[in-house]
Amino acid sequence: MEDDAPVIYGLEFQARALTAQTAETDAIRFLVGTQSLKFDNQIHIIDFDDENNIINKNVLLHQAGEIWHIGASPADKAVLTTCYNRTSDSRVVSCAAVWRMPSDWETGSHESPDDSAHNPQTLELLCHLDDSAHGNAACVLWEPMGDGKRVISLADNHALLWDLQESSTQAKVSSTATLEGKGQLKFTSGKWSPHHNCSQLATANDTAIRGWDLRTMSQIYCIENAHGQLVRDLDFNPNRQYYLASCGDDCKVKFWDVRNVQEPVKTLEEHSHWVWSVRYNHSHDQLVLTASSDSRLILSNMVSISSEPFGHLVDDDELSEGEDNHQEDKSKEPLKDSVVSTYEEHEDSVYAAEWSSADPWLFASLSYDGRLVINRVPRALKYRILL
């Protein structure tokens, strides 16, 4: 069972922002936002042809500024949000906006693939997610599995819940939550929980992780000193509602049960520098992807704290009916948490990694030097999980 070689795609610019096109469930598609102070920034739409192992790209211009964060609407393939820096009058301002891709970007690229680089189309601005009172957006979060009408933006020490109206051309702040405390507090990242009817939000600031109830916009839990240093990223387990993964500058990845915030359930220490991103696989939550500035991407198999700690239960039943006992015993062997594989295709710090929304066995990672690598879960593991 030879695993497929990774597919590498190089961008001309440095890049940090990566997301899967959430609303797209058929094609494997990722969106990458570039960072350049001197040239027009771009959004690369990367299509991966799984059968032929070929990448197709389309470029859209994002002239507003360098992109720090990108998010795709879960309802509308064409809608996305970015957080970007705009420089004006020797001042750098962080902004957030909702954009729509031009409707014909796909057809255009197919007709003249060579021209796309030279005459890229431009994103259509739908609305700004800026409030005069709250600046410096760090990231914008879409409501998971929602109808694409609600987003949260984290700006400085505020979490703003926006209602998008009139097919996203107008944004209105429906409620806000403010982090109070000593010093200059600032949200670094956050995640909207897909559980509890999407009524919870988790945010990170400095070394703490906080949970918020969006109905009352009040704090519901707080993990002080979740990491020794800055918390860089969070992700919710898609299947276990109280489980949360976090990563940070202490090189660790921690798994939390938010009902007991004293101790992490599990800690991983595989990276040798800051961990910038942590992502649960959308369907098999034992698979966890972490990206770090040690230029590595690590795929871990966290069976013990997954929603299927003893393997696939349904398959067990099937086995006991049909297969012989030997195989049954084999399948019931306690599975151990382990690092599945370490990917070293990157040469620079990897700031983002994402699972594909279409193929649960495929993921992309993006390093600062603009290298996007698409990898698959090793087949052996894939079959062990499936069978």
Binding site: E12, F13, Q14, S36, L37, K38, F39, N85, T87, S90, R91, V92, N225, H227, G228, Q229, D250, C251, H271, S272, H273, W274, S293, D294, S295, E344, E347, D348, S349, Y368, D369, G370
Partner: protein, 835 residues
């Protein structure tokens, strides 16, 4: 002549002269005293006047030839004189002999007359004797009848005396009873018992028997009463039992009674002991302790009721009597009285019964069984008390006391073992000793552990002291007493001294603990030759659960420093981490094997069960050392990182002014790095550098900046190529090895410093990438990086690493710069040198 000589000896008073004369005569006749042949040299000379071969003619001729006239004259007179005296001597002898012969003849004649008279008298005697015999026969014939009668009468007399004894028996018994001469009474009764029993069909005897029975019953009653009272001494008691046994009391009942009585006495002993265990108070040490001892002994002897007041009038809760005293008391009171009970019991019921008629009734077996149950019960209670007392023995100060106490305890139980061969008591006692020993080992382990933690606290304080004194100095006036305190205890504050004092004190502590534990196996201790103390105690107890556990604990606690401190804001001072790391490394290289060898030698361990090998422990220690050192690097790197991060994050790099100086934070970074370098250098060796480290910082830096960097900027200026990512940098990365930032370091200074600098510079890089810079911002970073380059290269193993990372920083900064106009290299150098 011989006859004459013999007879002459009868007269003693003239013996002297006679002998001389006799000698001369003998000489004359040539006889020596034995009457043998004369001596040859004398006899052969014919001129010898006294010799037998004397020839007068020859002699005369010789004289005439040889001597002068005068001499001849003299010779002649002398000769004449001699002849005369000889003649007179001869006359005297002849006369004397003649006299004797006459008197002898007279005596013989007289004897002849006397014998004749004697013969006549003998004849007369024999006739008289015949007559006497005759008379005597006649008399005895006549007295025959009377003799038989007298014999009969004397027989009757004896019988009557016996009857009288019987008739008087009741009265006598009563009297004995009054006088409490029980032994006599029982003896009397026993003598009469058979007779009375035999003739009981006769009414008179029956009466006597009944009377006796009544009296004896009373007596038995009294004896039983006495027996029950228990106030009597053991000797009295045994006497009692003996008598009762003789009175046919049922032995079983007696055994029970005896034992129950003994029980109550031993019980009071035990209660005395128990009262001592209870944390009741000794007010004024010695006096009260002795008072209470006498009191409790009194209580042990007498009624147990006076124990309740005792605890009330000694109110203040302080320490009990020490364990040796306690065990001593237990031995002297309980064990010895137990032994006494066992001996007397065996004497009474077993040895005694074995000889007598009681043996047939299986009494010894029964008695023995009862005794075993009794002893086991009591011993169990005693043991539980002893164990409770031992458990209270928590302080580990003086082990010898405990060992001596245990030894005494164990030794005294051997007496019981000797008395009662099949008993389980000694085994249980040994078990208690074993349990106490293992418990003690555990206590030592925890004592060692707490000692270790205490030492660490001391080290922490010592490490904090210099800072304290600095603080005191800065506060100046206010903190005068603080400063003096600091100066008073600033003795060993340098790291190597602290390390050596720490490891020495730990080692000493281990040694002293080993010495203490060693007491358990000393030769003069009775239980030391038990198989447990020879084998398992040494290997499992001392080696495994004391020494090995302690070493493991050291490693484990060290590792805990890494884990807890990492998350909760670095509560452990980095210097302590460094120190512990070195300690663990020292343990790995030498201390562990030393300690284990020491243990094995002291305890002569023969390992029957598998023990932890030295290598495993060493590996563990090394792992701990590695982890600590890694953590040290992480913590120190973090401190510097934090400074760099803050300095990058808090500044507005777009609108900064033209750099005139190296930023203060960079100086601080270099200072801190230098002091860390010094600190690490105190404990770790230098380590190996890459060969070209002797290059001056300037030269390498100029290469780095002029060629590579300028080329990079040039690339980014050309607007025709929208290649923002730098080709050169990527090519460089392709061929250079991947740098692991938070990686394991080696046990040397250079490696440690490399690790710290790596972490710091990588942080710098990541922070720079998150910011946007103006022209002067870039220039400031250039200046800062050059400054770092000037000072940091000397700390690391491979200076290319520093170059590369600084390169990356400046490169990234250039990318993040809105107006990338780099500063002239010469200007940078001037600024840096001025700073």
């Amino acid at each position: 002549m011989d006859v004459e000589v013999d007879s002459s000896e009868g007269v003693p008073e003239e013996a002297g002269r006679r002998r001389r004369v006799h000698g001369m005569l003998k000489l004359y006749y040539g006889l020596n005293e034995e009457g043998k042949a004369p001596e040859q040299p004398l006899s052969l000379d014919p001129c010898d006047i006294n010799g037998p071969h004397f020839d007068p003619e020859l002699y005369l001729n010789k004289l005439r030839r040889e001597c002068s006239l005068a001499e001849l004259m003299d010779q002649e007179t002398c000769m004449v004189k001699q002849i005369r005296s000889l003649d007179s001597d001869m006359q005297t002898l002849v006369y004397e002999n003649y006299n004797k012969f006459i008197s002898a003849t007279d005596t013989i004649r007289k004897m002849k007359n006397d014998f004749k008279k004697m013969e006549d008298e003998m004849d007369c005697l024999s006739t008289n004797m015949e007559a006497i015999t005759d008379f005597s026969a006649r008399i005895s014939g006549t007295l025959q009848d009377q003799h038989a009668q007298i014999t009969k009468l004397s027989g009757v007399h004896t019988l009557l005396r016996k009857l009288q004894f019987l008739f008087e028996l009741p009265a006598r018994l009563n009297k004995c009873l009054e006088l409490q001469a029980y032994t006599q009474a029982v003896n009397s009764h026993r003598r009469a018992r058979c007779v009375l029993h035999q003739y009981s069909h006769l009414p008179s005897f029956k009466g006597i028997q009944d009377d006796c029975h009544a009296i004896m019953d009373k007596l038995a009653q009294e004896l039983r009463q006495k027996f029950r009272d228990g106030g009597t001494s053991a000797k009295d008691l045994s006497e009692c039992v003996e008598l009762l046994l003789q009175l046919d009391e049922p032995a079983e009942e007696l055994c029970d009674k005896f034992l129950s009585h003994a029980w109550s006495r031993l019980e009071s002993d035990l209660q005395g002991l128990e009262a001592e265990i209870r944390p009741y108070p000794v007010a004024s040490a010695v006096k009260d302790a002795s008072a209470c001892r006498s009191l409790s002994t009194a209580a042990a002897a007498g009624s147990p009721t006076d124990k309740s007041p005792k605890s009330s009038f000694l109110p203040s809760p302080t320490s009990n009597t020490d364990i040796l005293e306690f065990i001593d008391r237990g031995c002297n009171e309980f064990v010895s009285s137990l032994c006494l009970v066992i001996t007397s019991y065996q004497e009474l019921f077993i040895n005694h019964a074995q000889t007598g008629e009681l043996a047939s009734k299986n009494i010894p077996q029964m008695a023995n069984g009862k005794l075993h149950v009794f002893v086991d019960d009591l011993a169990a209670r005693y043991f539980s008390l002893v164990e409770r007392r031992i458990q209270e023995e928590k302080g580990v100060g003086d082990n010898s006391l405990l060992v001596r106490a245990l030894d005494r305890f164990h030794r005294r139980l051997q007496a019981v073992a000797k008395l009662l061969p099949g008993s389980t008591v000694p085994n249980k006692g040994t078990e208690i000793v074993i349990r106490a020993a293992t418990e003690r080992v555990k206590q030592y382990l925890s004592a060692l552990q707490s000692f270790y933690m205490d030492s660490l606290t001391d080290v922490r304080q010592a490490l904090a002291t210099p800072r304290l004194s600095v603080a005191g100095a800065s506060v100046a006036g206010g903190g005068s007493h603080l400063g003096s305190m600091a100066s008073s205890r600033d003795a060993p504050t340098s790291l190597p001294e602290l390390l050596s004092s720490l490891s020495a004190s730990i080692l000493n502590q281990i040694k002293s603990v080993l010495a203490s534990v060693h007491l358990f196996t000393a030769k003069d201790i009775t239980f030391s030759n038990k198989p447990y103390f020879k084998g398992e105690f040494c290997s499992q107890g001392v080696r495994e659960s004391l020494v090995v556990s302690f070493i493991k604990f050291v490693c484990q606690s060290s590792r805990q420093f890494c884990e807890s401190a990492g998350d909760k804001g670095g509560s452990t001072p980095p210097a302590l981490l460094l120190l512990l790391s070195r300690l663990c490394l020292d343990y790995e290289t030498s201390t562990i094997s030393y300690i284990l060898t020491l243990t094995d030698e002291q305890f002569l361990v023969q390992h029957h069960s598998p023990v932890t090998p030295v290598t495993t422990l060493c590996a563990e220690a090394r792992e701990a050392a590695q982890k600590l050192l890694n953590h040290y690097v992480k913590v120190q790197g973090l401190i510097i990182s934090q400074m760099l991060r803050k300095s990058v994050e808090t500044r507005d790099w777009v609108n900064t002014i033209e750099p005139r100086n190296v930023r203060a934070v960079m100086k601080r970074v270099v200072e801190d790095t230098t002091s860390i370098d010094v600190q690490v250098g105190l404990l770790y060796e230098e380590g190996v550098r890459k060969a070209h480290s002797s290059d001056s910082s300037k030269r390498t830096f100029s290469v780095y900046s002029s060629s590579r960097q300028q080329a990079r900027y040039a690339a980014s200026y050309t607007p025709s190529a929208p290649m923002d990512t730098n080709l050169l940098s990527n090519i460089h990365k392709l061929f250079s090895e991947r740098i692991d930032i938070f990686s394991s370091v080696e046990f040397n200074k250079v490696s440690v410093m490399t690790g710290i600098i790596k972490i710091s510079l990588k942080t710098f890089l990541e922070c720079v990438r998150l910011r946007t810079f103006g022209r002067y911002g870039l220039q400031q970073i250039q200046v800062d990086c050059h400054y770092l380059q000037m000072y940091l290269w000397r700390f690391v193993s491979d200076e290319n690493l520093v170059h590369f990372l600084l390169d990356e920083i400046v490169g990234s900064c250039a990318h993040r710069c809105l107006d990338p106009a780099p500063m002239e290299q010469s200007v940078i150098e001037v600024i840096c040198e001025r700073g």
